[in-house]
Symmetry: C2
Subunit: 256 residues, 2 copies
DNA sequence: TCTTGACTCTTACCCTACGTGATGGATTTC
DNA sequence: GAAATCCATCACGTAGGGTAAGAGTCAAGA
């Protein structure tokens, strides 16, 4: 019969040596042999036992219960599993309730703090709510609410990164303003713009590419200078350029 | 300003005094006053803080994170909640996976051990599998499998209780055998019988009242003496009585 | 005023399932 | 024969308190 040292056993079981020591300490898995110098040696049978132990452990069962299960032969495994199943169901309910509470709380904080001050931070503050209202009119209320939900789920760091991406792209596009809206360099940048905008819309969840909405956004840029103004100064040329590039982009996508 | 002792605070907050001590120890909630004799006195403001603490604790947030949240004013509560939300989602996935594994394991054990020896414990053992087969023919395989699943979910204690309920009802009905199957006393007991039988069928999940199946069970009682025999002795009279009462019951229900 | 019972304080060990050293001996490898 | 690994046994730490032990404090009744 082969014998295995702690390191070997820990190796194939994917656990630490300390864990084996611990299981020995609490009498859960006592190695079937000790050398003269007190080294632990595990038999193949010990390995099989360990496999069972780890199986039950993966199910989230406590070690002393596992001890009962594997040490007395007539133990009611089925009963234990069923009971454990119920425990898990209760924990699931608990988590579900937690989620609901958190979402409610987030909604509250959202209505009070998040929307004007964080979510639409990039826009002038007095326009934030107005922007939201308009966006709802244009894209539909559900769409905007969904989008905001997705943004909230992203986490703040990601949101910040997204904003900075958008800023960079806008700057790049602004610098390309003289060129043909249909040129490759402009269209490449517009592609990025499209991706970021879709992320803002939380489009990741939707199958529909929403090209119509993107084209509509181009019109919005032209008709409402707030979206393209820089430091409070309107940029009608930039708006027109963006709109043209965006329309070109959508046309190509729909055509191809 | 009123001051509150540990016992009072623990009282309205629904926590133990030890918990307050602990929160004091770790600096989470230090009472704003100590008497000369070192008694803790909590102000109303302390109570408000405690409320917040318990709110976050209910969300499953760790105490040192709560400490961060309530102690530095500019803390990113929204970010923390969103991150915690994700943690919860992960835990949910984990639990879901556990449930699947447990169910698979139960199914395995079920096919090998559970069915003859536990689930149909009340019947003579040599008939258990036969009973199961017949039940499948009568009610449909899916129905029986679903029913067994429900029984497994019930937990062993509940299952035992259900069996004992059924036994009691059967004894009561047996004692009523001389009476009119349509009498109130018999019908009242049959109503209970119906409820228990439906629980055995796992009918809780189904909208359909399944009166047809219940009526069919009455026929089964008459045609197969095993279902009504007592200590191995056939009771054809009892079977006929039961069947009559059950048919009467179903008729009334369908009529009303 | 004294006593009694209820209350409070600190100290300190208990639980899970190990992690993380410290220290010293054993074994293997060059 | 020395260096590198491996093994062993303490022993303390984690989160969130539970559960005493032993001693001091408070309010109320006799």
């Amino acid at each position: 019969m082969k014998k295995y040292t702690v390191k070997e056993v820990a190796g194939f079981a994917g656990i630490t040596i300390r864990t084996l020591h611990h299981y020995d300490e609490i009498g859960l898995l006592v190695p079937s042999e000790r050398s003269e110098t007190n080294y632990r040696y595990y038999s193949e049978n010990d390995l099989l036992l360990l496999q069972q132990i780890l199986f039950y452990k993966d199910l989230g069962i406590a070690l002393n219960e596992i001890k009962d299960i594997i040490q007395n032969p007539g133990f009611d495994v089925v009963g234990a599993l069923i009971q454990h199943r119920e425990t898990i169901l209760k924990r699931q309910d608990h988590l579900k309730a937690l989620l609901i509470t958190i979402d409610k709380t987030l909604n509250n904080l959202n209505n009070k703090i998040m929307k004007p001050e964080e979510l639409y931070e990039g826009l002038p503050k007095e326009f934030a709510n107005e922007y939201r209202t308009e966006a709802m009119e244009i894209y539909g209320e559900q769409s905007v609410l969904q989008s905001e939900k997705e943004l909230l789920k992203m986490g703040k760091a990601d949101f910040e990164q997204l904003k900075s991406e958008q800023k960079q792209i806008n700057e790049k596009l602004f610098s390309l303003m003289g060129e043909d809206p249909a040129s490759e360099s402009v269209q490449t940048e517009i592609q990025k713009h499209y991706v970021v905008i879709r992320k803002f819309w939380g489009a990741s969840n939707q199958v529909d590419p929403q090209w119509e909405a993107y084209a509509g956004l181009g019109d919005l840029y032209v008709s409402d200078e707030r979206f393209t103004s820089i430091n409070g100064n309107a940029q009608p040329d930039f708006a027109a350029f963006l709109n043209a590039a965006m329309k070109q982009f959508v046309m190509r996508k729909k055509g191809g």
